[in-house]
Point group: C2
Chain length 164, copies 2
């Protein structure tokens, strides 16, 4: 059985159960550097300290997947948050799952993010690996280094296709 | 007395005394997500845990300063690193100072970074506030939230001009 997953625009309210949207629009801001800069302050709950973890800054360079876009697996990081922000201003896609069974089609939510929106997955939030729409789309990533098992994966057994 | 500060291209070797250059070029990389992405791994020593600190993710939106570009003050964060990465692919400028007296003209170093290069200032490294060359140049910033005094400033008393 194949299910099709509709894509919604990414909003703070829609994404709230899964973490935070990282964006300047609507964020707390104040002037710094004698007025030569504004700071959009504290945009994500970076939570990487469990079990002696430390923050890790990396860059991901992602490639588009073949269409029709079949979801492959869901993953989560039980020990830490994971923040992603695009380095090129191009739309990208996010798939998350509510609750504890990430493979239930009814649990899945898909969002289209703009190139000026990042997300921070809360610890334990199920999400699909990165889905980009253009070649060599890069993201700055803040996640966790440290001991302990911080990755769980759940491969799809039924077919779920993103309704692009 | 006016001194003029020459600008060098930003390189890992040149910046090493002050922290790390954050860039994909020349970095350790490996494939992830079934080959649909590469990870350029662990690009900066994010060091924000002193005195109960936690990582803070923010966005800065900076504006160009008037030319000739007079340095105003140097600052440093004694308790933590501060990482900056540009969100638009445009050159920007970095001024740092070697040693403990940031106002000595001989201590100053200026670098021109590309829009694909960020930096992570090491804890205690003296640096000038953000210098951009184009309006609304934004940066993702990872620095520290927490108790304690994490900002020292040293205003220039003699004139130092960036030799653009």
């Amino acid at each position: 059985m194949t299910s099709f997953l509709k894509i919604q625009p990414l909003t703070r309210a829609g994404f709230a159960p899964f973490g935070e949207v990282i964006e300047t629009q609507g964020s707390c801001r104040f002037a710094i550097n004698a007025g030569f800069a504004e700071r959009f302050h504290d945009l994500a709950r970076i939570d990487v300290a469990a079990a002696g973890g430390r923050p890790l800054l990396s860059i991901l360079r992602a490639q588009p997947r073949p269409t029709p876009l079949r979801l492959t697996l869901m993953e989560r990081h039980p020990l830490a948050s994971q923040a992603l922000f695009p380095l090129q201003d191009r739309d990208w896609l996010i798939v998350v799952a509510a609750g504890q069974d990430p493979l239930r089609p009814q649990a899945l939510r898909a969002f289209r993010a703009s190139g000026r929106q990042g997300v921070n997955y809360a610890p334990g939030a199920w999400h699909h690996p990165l889905i980009v729409l253009t070649p060599d789309h890069e993201f700055l990533v803040i996640d966790r280094d440290g001991e302990g098992v911080n990755l769980e994966e759940a491969p799809f057994v039924t077919e779920v296709i993103l309704d692009l």
